[in-house]
Amino acid sequence: MPSSGSNSIGLLDRSLVFITGKGGVGKSSVTAALGLLAAKAGKRTLICEVDAKGDVARLLDCEPSGFEPSEIRENLFLMAMNTEEALREYLRIYLRLPVVAMLGPLAKTFDFVANAAPGVQEILVVGKLCYEVKASKYDLILVDATSTGHIVSQLASPRGISELVRLGMVKDQVAWMEDILYDSLQTSVIVVATPAETPINEALELAERIDLETEVHLGALVVNKVMPELFSRSEEEFFTALQDPRVAKVLNRVVSSDIGLLLKGSSAALEMRRCAAPYVERLMGSSETVPVALLPLMFGEGSGMKLVRDLGEALAAEWDELLWQG
C-alpha cells in the first residue's frame, strides 16, 4: 500500500472527507459505512447528505434528517444540506440580521442566488461544510457528495466565486474556506466507482480534474461491488473439467440433472468477473500514490444496516492503516 506524505494522516483522522462517484455506484453506502466505523472508534461524526435523497438515512435505518443535524446513534449525526437554510444561517451569523425581518427579501434573494448564479449555490454548500469544520463541533464530517459531474465545480467554487464576485463579504470569506478545503491534512476526497466502463472512466477523469482544477487532496479510490473470486486456479481447472460431456454425465447421475443449472450459474459468475477485471485493474494501475480499495459485491443483504456493517468491515480490513494513523 502506497503511503505518500499526505497519506501520513489517516483518512478518518481528517476533518472533512467528501465521498463522490457516478450515480448508482454506492456512494451513500460507502459514506454510511465510514460514518459507522468512525463513530464506533469514538469520533464525533457528522454525515452530510448533499443531494438529500435520504439514502444514508435509509441505509442506517433511521428517519431522514433536516438541515439541523440529528444524532442517529452514539457519536453519529446526520444532516441534509439545504442551500436556502444555509444562506439563512449565514445571514444570521454574519450579518446578525433578524431572520423574520429578512424572510420576504430573503426568499427572493435565494430565488435569484439559486437560479442565476450556480457558483453561489455551490459556495453555500462548501461554505456550510467549512463553517462546521471551523466550529469544531465534530471530529469528522463525511459528505455524501454530489455525483462526479458537479463535485469539481463544488470543490473549485471558492476559486470560481473569486472570478464572479470581486468584492463583498463572500469574497473575504473565500480565503478561510480555501484554507480548510485545500489543506490535505484537513480535507480529502474519496472517489467511488463500480467495475464497469463508465463509472471507472468517470472516476479516473474526476481524479484527474480534482488534481488539475482544484487543490483538494485525493485520498483514495474505491471500487465497490467487485464480484468475489469464485475459484482458486486448481478449483477453476476442476470446474472446467466438469463441463466435459462425459464428466457431466457422471455428475448428473451422482447429484441430479439440475446440477447443469448450478454449473451454468457459476459459469455466468466467472464470466461477469472476467468482464469486470480489466476495469478493476485499470483503476488499480492508475496511480502510484492514491490507494485503491476493493469492496466485494454483497449478496442478499438488501440495502440496510447489515450491508453497511459488512461494507465497513470490508473497508476496515482493506484499509486499516489508511483510515487511522492512531
Binding site: 445571514l91 427572493k108 464572479l164 464576485v165 469464485l230 486448481s234 447429484v255 446440477i259 448450478l262 449478496f299
Partner: protein
Amino acid sequence: MAGINSLVERSKIIIVAGPGGVGKTTLAAALGLTAVDLTGKKVLVITVDPAKRLADSLGLVGLTSKGSQVSPLDLDEAMGHKVSGKLYVAMLDAKSSWDELVNRHAPDVATRQKILSNPIYRNISSRFVQSHDYIAMETLYELYRSSQYDLIVVDTPPSRHAIDFLDAPSKMADFFSSKLLKWLTLPARNRLLMGMFKPFYQVADKILGAQFLSDVAEFFLLFESMYAGFVERAKSVAGILENSSTSFVVVSSPEPVPMTEAEFFVSALDARHLHLGQMVVNRVLPEYFRDPAAILLAHQVQDDYERLAKEFLKKGASLDLIKESEVPPVRLEALAERVLLEVADSFLNFSGVATEEAEEISRLPIDEELITLIPHLNFDVSDLKSLGKVAGHLAVGD
C-alpha cells in the same frame, strides 16, 4: 406486435430517461439501431457525454449537435443483414448550443457580444445543470422542426432526478419571466427607484459585492431583448413533449434504489399526460437463477457436498480428465468438495439477488407488455456489433 417494435414504428420522438448508471446511453443507441433495422426509417440518436468506447463504436468523435451518419456498410455488418434505414448520431454540447441560441435570438451584434462575454451567462451556459436539460430539449425541438429525420431518439443528460428533464422548459420560461428579474434590473433602469429597494440592495451588496450585482443586472437586461422569443420558445419546446408521436422509454436497473426513482418518473409522466412507450429494465439476472428445482438442489449440495464429492470421484474414477490433472487422491477429494460447495453457494447468492429483482419488477405498476427485460450481458458494448446484440434483445423483448 407490441413493445419496442410498434413503439419505433409509431413514434417520431423517443426520449430515453431514467436514473443514472443504468446504461441509458447504451440503450438509447441500441434503440436507434433497432429502429433503423425494423422500420427502415431515417433515425437520429442524440446523446450526451457517451462512454468513450460507445462513442468510438458509433464513430462519434468530435461531433457537435449536428448529426453525422453511421456507415451503412458497418450497420449491415453489425446486424448481419442489409439494413434499410439510415442511422445518424449527434452529441450534445451544452455550451455551444447555448451560444447558438443566443446567436439566433439576439437582436443585434452588440447585444450578442455582450451576452456571450457576460460572466453570469458564461456560468449558466457551461455549468448550470438545469441548463443542460433545457438545451437538450431546445436542440430536440430544432431538429424536430427541421423534419430531417423520421425518428429522433434522445438520451437525456444525467441530472439529479430524472424528472428535472420534464420540467426544464417550464422552469426556463418561469425563470425568464419572473417578476424578480425585473425587480433586480430596476436600479440599472431607473436609479430613482433605487431608494425603495435600498435595504435589499444594501444586504445584497454587502454579501455579494456591487460588481456581481451589476453583472447580474446586465445579464438580465441583455436577455430581456430576447426574452419574449425565449419564453414563447420554451412553451413550444414543452409542447412537443405532449405530442402523441412522442414517447418516453424509462430505463432502470433492477435494484431497489433506481427502480424507485424510475417508478416515480413513470408516475410523473402519467400526471403530466405524457406517454410511456416502454419501461426497460436493464441487466436482469437470467431466469434459471429462480428455478425452484435448482434452488432446492443447491441447498441439498450445501448439506451433502462431502458425500457427493466422494461419490462423484468414485463413479468417475475411470474418467481420464480428472486423473490427468495429477492431483493426489486426498487433495482431489478436497478439491471436488470445495468446487461443489462453491457452485452451490454462488448459485444461492445469485438466486437471492434474482428473486429480489423479480420482486422489484413485479411490483411495477405498469402493464406487462410495456416492460422489456434486458439480460445481464457478459460483454462490453464496444462496437456496433455488440450494440447490435443489445438491439436484438430490445426487439425480441416482448
